[in-house]
């Protein structure tokens, strides 16, 4: 299929429909409004349903109901709205339902601002709501990857019966790039949804119950342990990352999403100055690519973490590096996107000079 120039938010929405998503429940919030707008326009054309909920709280619970009824279902929002959804996401993880969530991050805390940020990393990767659970988090750095990961997100959600989040920011959501859509095929064989509540007439009388309530502590502990076995499996098989120019790198920049694009530009500038710099780009934020650091740690002198936050992924990098090399951090927040020049300057400071 030919390449199409699309806006990030619309590309994500189109990818969801391409992957067979026919249900969207959401609530307006900047900077992700093109997703619900696209869905409201395009879903009816393919026999799908768009519902504008009264709040993000309602939207995520509609997702719960639809996912429990066996549908491929999407919701999208931006940071404050995703905060409102956390209760529902916890229930969805607890009830083991598949769904895809898109967070087009904006700056916080509170109402914050509408400019791009990466300050929801903790919330996305460490649970976010109450209780022991995780959401599988995919972080695209360009629009083709946003399309591919959005489609994969539905397969992963079905495979693990767990929410999968596409975590991007206002920059990815609003920029335009050429994208290509191929006919969708599941990335792997998907399990049947024989647990969905479609009525006992369809199940030969076997009752299906979607539930996260376990009043007996031993039952609940067993349930949580079973969920964590899925997370262990994700850690074994779903880790995704990219290494760029790391073979000879004295400094390895660690960045995801928008900041990884800036890091890439900074690396080109550094290389022209004779500074050997590479990029380790996590694509899955949970599971985090801890083992990827083992591949570069011996050759590099230092790590530089760049985020549009006050340092959140930084904690996972510290765990991964485990004291073997120094780690520096450069972050901008409040909706400010760092420039490649700022990152180059950080590298120069780290290496003790303007260039080789």
């Amino acid at each position: 299929m030919a390449k199409k120039l699309m806006k990030g938010n619309e590309a994500i929405a189109a990818a969801a429909i391409n992957a067979g998503c026919r249900f969207f429940f959401g609530y307006p919030i900047t900077p992700q409004n093109e997703i619900p707008e696209y869905m409201s326009r395009e879903l009816p054309k393919v026999g799908g349903t768009y519902v504008q909920a009264e709040s993000e709280v309602a939207a995520i619970n509609m997702v719960y109901g639809a996912a429990g009824a066996g549908a491929r279902v999407l919701t999208s929002s931006s940071s404050p709205g995703i905060s409102l959804m956390q209760e529902g996401i916890s229930y969805i993880a607890g009830a083991e339902l598949p769904c895809v969530l898109v967070n087009i991050m904006r700056a916080g805390p509170g109402l914050g601002g509408v400019q791009p940020a990466q300050a929801d990393y903790f919330q996305a990767t460490k649970g976010g709501g109450h209780g022991d659970y995780r959401v599988l988090v995919l972080a695209p750095a360009n629009l083709q990857e946003a399309v591919d990961l959005t489609q994969l997100a539905f397969d992963l959600a079905d495979k693990y019966r767990n929410p999968v989040m596409v975590l991007a920011d206002g920059m990815i959501g609003q920029l335009m790039e050429p994208v290509e859509f191929s006919p969708y095929h599941p990335a792997f064989a998907l399990p049947p949804k024989d647990w969905a509540t479609t009525g006992t007439a369809e199940s030969g009388g076997r009752r299906r119950v979607i539930n996260s309530l376990y009043l007996y502590p031993d039952e609940l502990e067993n349930h949580v342990r079973a969920i964590y076995r899925k997370y262990a499996e994700m850690e074994r098989t779903e880790v995704r990352y990219e290494l760029y120019d790391c073979d000879d790198a004295d400094v390895v920049i660690v960045a995801y999403g928008t900041t990884s694009r800036i890091a890439r530009s900074a690396i080109e500038k550094c290389r022209r100055l004779g500074l050997r710099v590479g990029l380790l780009r996590p694509i899955t934020l949970f599971p985090f690519p801890f083992a990827a650091f083992d591949r570069v740690v011996d050759r590099t002198r230092a790590f530089l973490v760049v985020e549009m936050s006050m340092g959140q992924m930084l904690d996972d990098v510290k765990i991964a590096v485990a004291g073997r090399r120094p780690i520096s951090f450069y972050g901008r927040t409040g909706g400010i996107v760092p420039t490649p020049e700022e990152v180059v300057k950080q590298v120069q400071t780290l290496l003790g000079g303007p260039g080789a």
């Binding site: 309602a58 619970n61 229930y91 299906r208």
Partner: protein, 248 residues
């Protein structure tokens, strides 16, 4: 021998956890019988609330989803939009529906969602131990209004049926009681009607059922039934508040 009465096939037979004298069990039975008599049990999906009826998914003999507190109408909306041929009903208490879930119930009604809501009003938070609800009567003592609910500051009963009946896209809104056998028969007819309207794709239907809470009211089961008649019904008049088919 001729069978004159038996447990409804709409119930699983799991022993219910409700307190002695509580009318939740009766209301479950009426809903179950209505589902069976309309021949929709096999395509019914129940949505259980948070509150005393949280285990409704154990009792109704159909598929079920347990919802977060107050969110049952949103969950039901999700199910119904995916599976319009299923008969989807929520079973919610007054704390769940009229307090924390007020936005969800109003918007499900506003949107004309083709679901049925069984709203059990006992004027108190039962599960958590008898706290004040939006439906608590003025002067009624609870564990969080020990001197009795005061009109100023704590407000007066929220009449859900009257409020929802003002919403254009609703199909059927009725309030019934189960404190006597004749009333129980009326309640059953209302529940059947509400579910039948869903079968006919007529839109949102809600039946409020006045219910007892002997434990938290501090009354015997018999006195609790009398309390419904003498105190609740004057505050919550019984009747049909909306019927798109024109009945009242």
């Amino acid at each position: 021998m001729k069978t004159v009465y038996q447990k409804s096939a709409g119930l699983t037979g799991v022993p219910m956890h409700y307190c002695p004298g509580c009318t939740h069990g009766i209301i479950h039975k009426l809903v179950a019988e209505a589902l069976v008599e309309l021949d929709v049990l096999g395509r019914a999906v129940a949505v259980a609330p948070v509150g005393c009826a949280v285990f409704a998914y154990e009792y109704f003999n159909c598929d079920a989803q347990q919802a977060a507190h107050g969110r049952a109408p949103a969950v039901a909306t999700g199910i119904k939009r995916v599976r319009p041929d299923n008969i989807v009903f929520t079973y919610q208490g007054d704390g769940d529906l009229a307090s924390i879930g007020m936005a969800e119930i109003v918007h499900a009604a506003m949107g004309g969602e083709n679901i049925t809501v069984v709203f059990v009003n006992n004027a108190i938070y039962g599960m958590t131990g008898g706290q004040m609800a939006p439906t608590t009567l003025v002067g009624q003592p609870t564990t969080t209004s020990p001197l009795g609910r005061s009109r100023l500051g704590q407000g007066a009963p929220l009449r859900v049926c009257e409020m929802l009946a003002t919403i254009e896209a609703t199909a059927y809104i009725a309030r019934v009681s189960v404190h006597s056998i004749p009333r129980l028969n009326v309640a059953k007819r209302a529940l059947k009607k509400a579910l039948q309207l869903q079968v006919e794709n007529k839109g949102f239907s809600l039946v409020e059922v006045l219910s007892t809470c002997p434990t938290n009211w501090g009354l015997s089961p018999v006195d609790a039934l009398r309390w419904v008649e003498q105190n609740m019904i004057p505050a919550y008049p019984l009747g049909v508040f909306k019927d798109i088919e024109g009945g009242t």
